[in-house]
Symmetry: C2
Subunit: 372 residues, 2 copies
Amino acid sequence: MINYDVIIVGAGPAGIGVASLLSQSDLNHLILDKSEIGNSFLDWPKNMEMITPSFPSNAFGQMDLNSIFESTSPAFAFNKEHLTGDEYAIYLSGVADYRELNVERNNEVKSVSEEENGWAVETQKGTYSCKYLIWAAGEFQNPKIENISGKEHCIHSSLIKSPDELKEDNFVVIGGYESGIQMAFDLVQNNKKVTVINPEIIDDMETSDPSRVLSPYTYTKYDTLKSSELYTEIIGEAETVSKTENGYKVQLKNDTSLETESKPICATGFSLVKKPIEHLITNREDGFPKLDEKTDELFEKKNIYLTGPSVRHDDHIFCFIYKFRQRFGVIVEDILLKEEYKKENVSVLVDGWKRNGMYLSDLSCCGEECVC
Amino acid sequence: MINYDVIIVGAGPAGIGVASLLSQSDLNHLILDKSEIGNSFLDWPKNMEMITPSFPSNAFGQMDLNSIFESTSPAFAFNKEHLTGDEYAIYLSGVADYRELNVERNNEVKSVSEEENGWAVETQKGTYSCKYLIWAAGEFQNPKIENISGKEHCIHSSLIKSPDELKEDNFVVIGGYESGIQMAFDLVQNNKKVTVINPEIIDDMETSDPSRVLSPYTYTKYDTLKSSELYTEIIGEAETVSKTENGYKVQLKNDTSLETESKPICATGFSLVKKPIEHLITNREDGFPKLDEKTDELFEKKNIYLTGPSVRHDDHIFCFIYKFRQRFGVIVEDILLKEEYKKENVSVLVDGWKRNGMYLSDLSCCGEECVC
């Protein structure tokens, strides 16, 4: 059985990012992915783009919003602001090459179990062991439709690869966040009638936190959408979906109901891919894994960490790339200190990560902006 | 004669930005502008947009690229990434209100002279005196067409407010940087033939410094442009422009010449508006003002500072907003220390400015990016 210092599960932005920091030490690592580097991005609908704009500003002390390692910038590589999924996957592969990461592709993790000195990771192709395990399996592979009775009649937005190929004339979209608005926009562009069921009034949201409100990229689409006669928005929550003679009926909690000829589209987000480590996770009330606030280790477990969009502390959401990258350094620092790396040397690394937005330990920072 | 601690000339991003930092102390200040807050931006062609994308990321330790003061974000105010000039002027006014800045509009500075304890600033409406003077008069009011004989036959790109109103069918654009490519793009969009004379091959430029290469925003337009039959690019430098029977002739240094029916459009940039302080400036070989590297004071002058896009140190260019804002703190720190503010208190302010990208003293940082 091969033994590694660190095994990282998932070769997406979180896995490649945290491994890039780790590759600045002499610990050895293995990244396991059930498919390819950036597989989730390769799976995106073809017209979907990153909602955070890329800009090559590293050289002046500000990381590209979509960068996962210092001195790299998707905007520099592609000369554009909004990368497609395919392009972003190429960027991730570029970083993996540049940092000479050890990635094993097409090998799915089946189970993870505790051992005396770390973790046994059973995969399709055999079992590996490691002292530290970093779970970076992401969310996009795991579409979420919760709390809707009759959800088998719905289709999740992420499974619609080309909205312009949909044949019907009217659609109901459940959920009005980034992907709901983008789906509605694409459909209206194709002259379809769309009704979005949105639990919140977008224009009434007062926060500036980009994990909670529409990004400017999507808002610009929303602005166009609102002025279209093909677009209707209903504030409420879907409760039941049922099959009717000519299509489907969506019943809202507030007694409103909608008829539609096509399967309702659920733009209801994603959940953490976590099956092989589910038995190790304690959930918070909201269903996200409970983590050690200082180290991002799973609650009351040692040497197993979570990184990526499912990281939550209190009400802080780290779901954008530029936000969850801020916790990469926290994990790597913890591992290096446990391995008895000299504190001075670790501090030099941490200072660099801080400069590049890869290390956030003080969560009190996340204040609001003034309206100007 | 009214006496101020600090007078700032110019109510654009540099003036409003540096004054916002200063307003964190109890020094009093006056901002003088010959017109309005953000006047240059109000003067932009109506379809022109910021080339740096805005995104509300302050709350997670990364300033909006176009923000000039902490906790503010044009993207948050306008829900879009690329603001027009009019919108950006509204943002600047918003910051001036928020920081309660003392702005005197419609009062042009005529001359500046040295006094025993500072500076006398003679304006249209009278003379003011101050101990410290910050020159933030900007560039956009001062279009530059240099080294072209017959330049009186040309028109500067910034004077063309609506490219879609131009009547002729073919155009020559001298200069292929941001504004040259954008002008060409707008003209080709309107079915005009355009030849751009570009001193450098855009795709061959190896640097990632966004002050030297096309921004991703403009590059995307360039990409479209290159595939249009209406677009021609010639690598070279214009030497002479002359009037012909049917239009104009542009002679290049390399013996090529071009005929065009319309006035050649010079997208040749801008120079610092500096007349009232010209006698105080020592120029570098490249024509930019020579500055004290530590404080941004004019060369061998005390208590008169330059801020804005004309700031140069060695070969570092600070011409984007997010780049020149990095020197705001350097100036304000120097003033506070001269005023014998306690070092500890100044340090607290400087730490905040550093966190927000408003303080860059170590110019060795500006490294290159890797190609991924």
